[in-house]
Amino acid sequence: MGLMQKIAETQVWRSIFRHGYPNTPRNRALAALSNIFLHLHPVKARKSGIKLSFTWCMGGITFFLFLLETITGVLLMFYYRPTIEYAYNDIIALREHVPLGIMRELHRWGAHMMVLAVWLHMLRVFLTGSYKPPREFNWNIGVILLLLTLLLSFTGYLLPWDQLAIWAITVGSNMARAHPLIGNEGPGASLLAVGDVALVTPSSDIRFGLLAGRFVGAAALLRFYVLHCVALPLAAGLFMAIHFWRVRKDGGISGPM
């Protein structure tokens, strides 16, 4: 009896893996179906469908980059404090004093790469017609994930709290002023009024809600930090789970045309 077989017969092993060695089609299917991570994937994929020249592996690379961002992001949180007193100096310290001073650089470049990978993934899905029925729902989930990726980039942009960050968010959040009805300079904003008291003002419109103030200040920094580190990654994780699961439910990766 080989060592591997001995291990495979222990109670510990058998409590974890509820199937035999994956050398039969049934056990291979069970290996995928009885694992929480693998079960999101199709049990079987067409050989032609997973060719690198067909998928570019851009979805997988995007997911890899999301994991990289999660790990480096959590590590950065051990040193970074989201207040106007400390934020900028903590970013400098992450480069100058903290061991392995490239952590923030990894996070930043990973973010740039992720936007690029998401874009290429979308282009690949479009060029191969993989958005067509029955996958049109998953295309929409993908559009939400694109939006979440861009929002993660946008909120992360403010955190270094340097001139570039403050002004980029000032310019970016000014767009919200022009939102119809709920932006104070947007069309229809003046319709929302009680008598001659306007309800949508610079101190109550959607931009105010986003920044928690009338301009980019301490409250905006804290708000963007929470969005960047907690709210948006949770939302992205949820939609990624749906996205991967739907690939399986919609018949796996589409075949070449």
Partner: protein, 193 residues
């Protein structure tokens, strides 16, 4: 499968353990209870959601107040004063004449917003060139606030400026006046000195 369900249904009515005096509530009553219950639940859930949205709009801001006093007008000479640029985002300008607001030949003061009308950066006052110049994309404004170069689509905004009872200048940033809406001619957009 169908037959076993049917036989279960049949024996259900003759269940010996069942109290023969028990009366089931009517279909209408069950529906009514369900509608009322779900209605209340959804109402409470939406009220909670609304409360959460309201929660995100703070009541107290740790920002400079929107109104401030800037001393008596006699403190200011002709030209642009940058005292309140950092603290209140305002340039106080004293001029002999302001034809753009219909005060040709009438000396006075106005309060200019320091927010570039292109994308919201803060321009710099350049005394030598006699203009405001935005470092972000190069928008330029005359001393009046009128845009004349770069991508700025409209002039700088002016704030309400009046004389307080104690003789000090009072600038009120809650009220803004835009040239392109013809608001600079408003009485409180210009302080006659």
């Amino acid at each position: 499968m169908a037959t076993s369900e049917a036989s279960q249904q049949a024996t259900y009515g003759n269940n010996p353990a069942r109290d023969p005096n028990r009366r089931d509530p009517s279909r209408r009553k069950v529906m009514g209870t369900l509608v009322a219950g779900w209605g209340l639940f959804l109402l409470a859930a939406h009220a909670g959601l609304l409360g959460m949205v309201r929660y995100l709009f703070p009541n107290v801001l740790y920002e400079p107040p929107a109104t401030f006093k800037a001393g008596p007008p006699s403190n200011y000479g002709l030209g642009v004063d940058e005292t309140y640029k950092e603290s209140y985002g305002t340039w106080l300008v004293r001029v002999e004449s302001d034809p753009l607001s219909g005060r040709d030949g009438i000396p006075g003061m106005y309060a200019l917003s320091t927010i570039c009308t292109h994308l919201g950066c803060i321009p710099n006052w350049q005394p030598a060139a006699n203009k405001f110049k935005c470092p972000c994309h190069g928008s330029g404004y005359r001393m009046s606030g009128m845009n004349f170069e770069g991508p700025a689509p409209r002039p700088l905004e002016r704030w309400r400026i009046v004389l307080a009872t104690d003789g000090q200048i009072l600038v009120d940033k809650n009220q803004k006046y835009q040239w392109e809406k013809g608001q600079w001619i408003s009485p409180e957009a210009y302080l006659k000195v």
